[in-house]
Amino acid sequence: MTLRKWLLVLSLLTPGIGLIVAFIGVAVYIAAAQSFGYYNLAGESSFSLEFWDRMLDRKVFSRAVMYSIYIGVISAFLSVAFAYPLAIWLRKPFPGSLAIGAMLKAPLLVHGLVVAFLFINVISYHGILNQLLQGIGLWDEPHRLQNDRNAIGVLILQTWKNMPFALLLLTGAVQSISDDVLNAARDLGAGSFDRFRKVIAPLTVSAMQAALIIIFIGALADFSFQVIAGPTNRQSLSQLMVFFKDGGRWNDAAVVGVSLMIIAIAGSALLAAVSRIVMRGRIA
């Protein structure tokens, strides 16, 4: 390529990718710098490890890390686990399959905050679920279901919101497997579980990894579901970061933010590796 062409490409990329890299780069850079004591909004700025030191000793921080990882991993697995059988079922069009696909993807259209509201409405103390379970005589009195200690509410919300996304990715992947391959497996005597394990799973592993990772990062960094439906005695990392920022403790917020990004990257790599080993390992 000539110098002239390079200059043309660079000038074309500048307003788009250039701006993106600069914007995200600056945000990440400021987060990293602030976590080490630079860019102090109040007081002196100088290199210091004290913010990391103190944060790592805080119980609230380690609890938030564990809690966010728990939400991220379980939500990603549940969403994919529900989406797989549905994607395989919808692989070949049949009467009504379009309508089902549309209904299953409906949560994609509903805003997370609205989902959270609809959900707490249904599970509230005098809500329809409590009434129903009392009506059929399963419970004697209403139970408090909102903000449950194990964050089951948050997991339900995450799965409800993210399963359609996993379904979208997996449907594409499953549909691209040709009938010949599956018929060949069937002719060779593979049952439906073997066909999944030995043919479908290895061939759709990249779509599954993409779904796992994107859902994991989103759920790991969750704020609104946690605030509205999550346990009150625990904080997610985003919640903790906002808490520090609201108190004007930017350096502490930065430590949490950088940790969140490190966990997102490390966790994604780990999830990708594990799913590849599990799905591909069995082929050998």
Partner: protein, 275 residues
């Protein structure tokens, strides 16, 4: 035909499950939004005893709903146009010029989707404070939305540019068309569905965006999601939250349906012919 039978059973089961899953929560929301304050909806009654549009009217007149609507519906189209304008040159380069590092650039363009939104928001705010620009909240959020949602526009427009047929461009050139005329006859028809899809998807994303609007905009700049968040938080009034939820969800569903139609119509229109 046992597979067909099984499909039918599964179908009925799933449709009824999904219907419950969708219809119950939404009907609850609609009913709650119609509760008249004259008489509360207690647990022993199946439907609210008195129903009226009082809550809708009250929210319209006495909350920041109007400001939030104006903010959201000004912000979203501006962000959509800005994102598209910024994405066009990059999409052209990625779609029509072969250069080393093109695949890396395509991945780099997805960066905003990978970094957690609250990290971006908080440290973007921090940067605004350093620069002393934190007072112009509308501009700051607009700028951030345009960049954060640009990946969608870049992705869609790159595909659109790839699908512009070279023989159309060459034919136009051979017939003596100027650069502008070539753009109009060869590029624009192929790009149109992509342009609409990009505008619509950034619009929807911006209307729904919460983290940036909440962090950069707090305390005095409200959009519909931040207003809903407020109603769900410390001053939780169930009927009011129901009104806001419905206001947020209905236009989006309509827009998404248009988007789906657009994306579907985009394919056959573009892949016809041998390319």
């Amino acid at each position: 035909m046992s597979a067909q039978r099984l499909n039918q059973i599964l179908l009925v089961l799933l449709v009824s499950l999904t219907a419950i899953w969708l219809i119950v929560p939404f009907s609850m929301a609609i009913l709650w939004s119609l509760v008249d304050p004259a008489e509360p909806w207690t647990a022993d009654k199946l439907v609210p005893p008195v129903m009226s549009f009082y809550r809708w009217q009250d929210m319209w007149e006495n909350s920041s709903l109007q400001t939030a609507l104006v903010n959201s519906y000004l912000l979203a189209p501006s962000a959509a146009i800005a994102a598209l304008a910024l994405a066009m040159p990059t999409a052209f380069a990625l779609g029509r010029i072969r250069f080393p590092g093109r695949e890396v650039c395509k991945i780099l363009a997805l960066l905003p989707l990978i970094v957690p939104p609250f990290v971006t928001s908080i440290f973007f705010t921090s940067m605004l404070y350093q620069l002393g620009l934190h007072t112009w909240r509308f501009g700051a959020i607009l700028f951030a939305h345009a960049i954060v949602f640009m990946p969608y526009a870049i992705r869609i427009m790159t595909v659109s540019f790839e699908q512009v047929r070279s023989d159309h461009i060459d034919a136009a050139r051979d017939l003596g068309a100027s650069a502008w005329a070539r753009w109009k006859v060869a590029y624009l028809p192929a790009l149109k569905p992509g342009i609409f899809a990009s505008l619509l998807i950034v619009f929807i994303q911006s209307i729904e965006e919460f983290a940036l609007a909440f962090i950069v905009g707090s305390p005095d700049f409200t959009t519909i999601p931040t207003l809903l968040y407020g109603t769900l938080g410390q001053d939780f009034v169930r009927p009011n939250a129901a009104v806001l939820s419905l206001i947020l969800v209905v236009p989006n569903v309509i827009l998404m349906l248009i988007l789906e139609r657009l994306l579907k119509s985009a394919n056959p229109a573009l892949s016809s012919g041998k390319g």
